[in-house]
């Protein structure tokens, strides 16, 4: 639920304080209706459609990818009669990254555009968003297409995803509380296991790939509490068909904040919530970014005794730092991982708050 805190903080920072009051809060009992709620919610301040996954070609060459579109509401004042349609009331931010696991290489790119006049758009009736030529869209049969290519780094994906488990409503039926106030919450749903196939372009070559992906959709208007310096998030596909989402919010002194937690999704799609007291996260190895000097835990021991899980989660490409300082002012680590221990598997890991302070970035 709190997985993209650093980004959310940034997104909130973009919207001036006085404008906060007009944004719609997500309240307990939020009723989510699909496909409409796959679409954008421009009356809230922040929203994202987040895809990560691993896929391999027929020879076994494996890649990781991340493709995200963030939406940020900048202005909620009433529209005036002579207002330009080009007004940046909403902006969309795209992050694209590909990791070449065999060669231990990683590239990322980002784009920020106003949701207006041919720059970018996010439909409100279904999942259909684009920034220039980067796009994601859902078809009525839940087939989702992602299409994004960055010429500068010569990498991109053109893939189709299809969920193999039902939509997971995080928190209480999708109401995911983030603070003490009822309105400090987001609406949060996930497709934790999507069959993935299509083309992945990497450094002059195009690979026909297939694999598994993870999707989160979250929106809200809440400001997150003070004292959180960052978090560590895991989205893991276990080989027995279960999926595990786990996040640890790091409070002052590095201790886990009480809002930390996760969800175990069984092979049949049923879910089981994991509380902060149910798990232990122990860093095993660190990697230091040559670009920013930040030191990231690149391998972890994840223990959830109540679920019988004792896992070692290690990055497959250490240098997976996404530097979006120019467009967004943030730096975070997001890369593919392998799972070993009581069961094997694969997935994605996100580490935030290890680079310089977020708030002074932008």
């Amino acid at each position: 639920m709190n997985r993209r805190l650093i980004l959310l903080l940034f997104l909130m920072a973009l919207a001036p304080v006085y404008a906060q009051t007009g944004w719609k809060q997500v309240m307990p009992g939020v009723e989510l209706e699909y496909p409409r709620d796959h679409g954008a919610h421009p009356d809230t301040r922040a929203e994202w459609w987040y895809f990560t996954g691993q896929a391999a070609d027929s020879s076994g060459r494996r890649f990781g990818y991340q493709f995200t579109i963030f939406r940020v509401g900048l202005d909620d004042r009433p529209v005036t009669p002579d207002e330009s349609a080009m007004r940046a009331r909403q902006i969309l931010i795209g992050h694209l990254a590909v990791a070449d696991i065999r060669n231990n290489r990683y590239e990322s790119a980002d784009r920020v555009r106003r949701a207006a006049a041919g720059f970018a758009s996010a439909a409100t009736d279904d999942m259909r968003a684009w920034i220039g030529d980067w796009s994601l869209a859902r078809a009525p049969d839940d087939f989702i297409t992602l299409d994004a290519y960055d010429r500068e780094h010569d990498m991109g994906v053109s893939i189709e995803l299809h969920p193999t488990k039902p939509l997971v409503y995080q928190g209480e039926n999708g109401y995911s509380q983030k603070g003490e106030e009822p309105g400090n919450a987001s609406a949060y749903v996930s497709w934790t296991r999507l069959e993935t196939s299509g083309r992945l372009t990497w450094k002059g070559e195009t690979f026909e790939v297939s694999g598994l992906s993870w999707f989160d959709h979250e929106y809200g208007s809440s400001q997150l509490g003070e004292g959180v310096s960052g978090w560590d998030w895991f989205g893991l596909h276990l080989d027995d068909g279960r999926d595990l989402m786990l996040y640890g919010l790091r409070g002052a002194g590095g201790s886990l904040a009480p809002q930390s937690g996760g969800t175990l999704i069984e092979a049949d799609g049923s879910t089981r919530r994991i509380a902060e007291s149910d798990f232990i996260l122990t860093p095993l190895r660190t990697w230091t970014s040559p670009a920013t000097g930040a030191e990231y835990p690149a391998a972890w021991r994840v223990e959830i005794p109540s679920c019988g899980l004792n896992l070692t989660v290690s990055s497959l490409v250490d240098d997976a730092e996404l530097d979006a300082r120019r467009s967004m002012g943030v730096v975070y680590w997001e890369g593919p991982v392998k799972v070993e221990g009581s069961i094997t598997g694969s997935g994605y890991m996100e580490l935030t708050g290890y680079a310089t302070s977020l708030k002074n970035r932008f």
């Binding site: 920072a13 349609a85 106003r114 006049a117 041919g118 220039g132």
Partner: protein, 850 residues
Amino acid sequence: MIVNALFVRPVLRRPWRFLMTLVGVAVGVASVVATVLASQAAVRSMSEDIERLAGRARLEIVRTGDLDETLLGELRPFARDAVLVPVLEERALAPDLNDALRVFGVDFFVDRDVRELEWKGDFTGDESALTGLIRGEGVLAPASLLQGLGVKPGGSIRLSIRGRVVDLPVLASFQPEEYADSWDRVLLLDIAYAQELFGRVGRVDRIEAVPRPGVNADELRQRLRAALPGEYRVESPAQRGEESDRMVRALRFNLTALSGISLLVGAVLVGVTLYTSVVQRRYLVALLRSMGASRAQIAGAVLIEAAAIGLLGGVLGAALGYAGALASLKSIRASTAVVLHDAPASSIEFRWSVAAAGVLLGCLASLLASVGPLMEALRTPPLQGLRREKPGWMTRSAVIRSLAAMLIFAILAAALAAAPPIADLPYAALGAGLAILAAMIAAASPFLDGLTRLAHLLRFGPHVRFAHLAMAGLAAGRGRAAWAAGAIGVSSALAIAMAVMVTSFRQTVVDWTNQGLRSDVWIRPASGKTGIPTGRLDPQLVSIAQRLFGEDCVDPFHSDDAYYQGEKVTLSAGEFRIVQTRGTAPFRDGRPSAEVFAEALRTHGAVVNEPFAQRFHVERGDTITLQTRAGEVTRKICGVFYDYSNQQGTVIIDRNDFLTMYPNDGPQGIALFLPPGASPAAARERLRAELDERWAVDILLNRELREEILRVFDRTFAITAAMQAVASAVAALTVAMTLYTLVSERRRDLAILRALGASRGQIARTILWKAGLLGALGAGLGLIAGALLGVILVKIVNLQAFHWSLRLIWPLSDFVRLTAFVLAACLIAGAAPAWSVIQSNQAMMLRDDE
């Protein structure tokens, strides 16, 4: 030793003479350097300016007028290969600067990657400047501009936009990564904010494209062209500049021609001063030669002197030229602003290349000018040099040769004047001008010879005996005297020709405004120091005026760019219904304006101005098709009217016709035709009372508008007045140098006269007569040549370069004034050598070794 005797010693003995020669070279070089620097700054390459502002954008999508912003959506597939950047470009008056600023509406998300600017300000935190910029709450301003205005981020810049006063908060500043003064007058703000401020919601001026790495710009251009309908053009930013460059081409050409004339005047002056310098030492040269000095040694000494004068004069001239450019930039900018409203506001940059060229020019002119005198010095047999005499009269064959040369140049001038323009520019006509000057110089020697022969034949009474002596003196030094008369003639001719052109132009404009401008009150956007109104008016002002004065009194005037046969023209509109009864535009075929506008209203036709008709060779009855931003517009021409406000060509249609194509267009001005007997001043007060401090418009009465037009005109031609002054100064300097030579050459004669009992006053009068006669000959020749040059400028150059036909007016008072000025300058110039002679010791003069 030779150098010492011929150069160093004379310089040490008479340093002021060396200095005068230096000043002569310096003035010539300075006039060239000043004109080149100032015209470069005022009419700097628009392409260069546009490229600086375009940053990394390599292509831009444009079409006639502007673009619909939805085009960006259609270009989505190209986002993979290029960053697409919409830009809205406008101008607004900053009352605190009394000057216009360029306003760029951009998308800050992408612009940072396009234009190479270093943003300075608070870009962190919740209330960051970037957020404010993106939300359209303020502007990003150049640090240099803020410094000049004394405004800091957090303050605001006041602008007059569409007649309204707007205070724009300054959120942050920027500094071009590589300093470029193109940016000094540019404000950046969010494109949506700009659209709203300027009443252009939904429109952009262009979409710039920055190819992504590895994308070939030419291939991208071809793909974009293929994907877009034919009305769109995909160009490099420089191509837009080339179009603007074409518009100022005629102006640039004329300024360059002025530089050329400065060069000519300068070269004449250098020639005369060096000739003087060499001739003054003819005796010494002859002495050295008779003592065994070789020709090469003499030549070396003369050339060293020429090079030294050229070098020092060139350096001095470059410095003077830089100062002159600073002084004249304002005038030249005013000239540019008339032709191209958004000409880049640039400052004078000291350019080493121009300074070096100036020094080189000084050296070259000195060396070239030394050839003639040098040849004479070397050819003169030592004995003749020692006698200090030259044959007095021209031989018959020499007279025939000179007159034949004059005739050939005159025929050449006539032929060139009749030749058509080359590439739309009056090269041939300017060639004709040069030929006239050459003919005049060729005529100077036989005319002087004739004058002195005439004096010889006439029997002067005792009281004018000194005139006779003066004539004899001139005849003795005829070579120098003829050159001096020619130089005075060139300077006078240029001054006279400029006077003819300016007077003719000004009177034509006066007649035109008197006849054509009949509205009682004129409302327009506030204008800055260039006198050119900035932008358009809010359409709401039309409603206000109509409410106050009635619909039949209000004639809003609209204007927009259009293309005819691929060339940029102006499409304008006025209320034909009102103009028909109240307007009195002068038509070329003499038909009453009411008749023409009635026909245009009835037949859905158009009227065009004279530059349009001239440029495209069309006339009444022809049908023209314009490409406008509202599509193709085809109209029949009902009349061609005289117009001196626009040289690129204007087509005027009825306002109702115009508004169907451009709904909600803001007018560029509103004319009020009040009912007979109504007081314009009272109407203005009523309007002012209605428009409170939220509005910033100029409200001019008819008289004020006409005065304003003439003020702009006078400012535009201020540079010409400066050139006139330089030409006159050069004339005076030329006379002073030549007289000094002629006097010093005959010092011994004058001393003998003194010894024989002539009084100092008598001798001084001889010298002053000489100066006066020389001046009169030069001024007379200059008057004839100048009048002919004036005709060429008025009737040929203006028509070919600007498509303006002007009435030829002879400014007789200017002729008298200029002639009197040249004569007075010559007499004053003659006073110095006269004074020097009467102060000299006779004995010293008699044994003077020079």
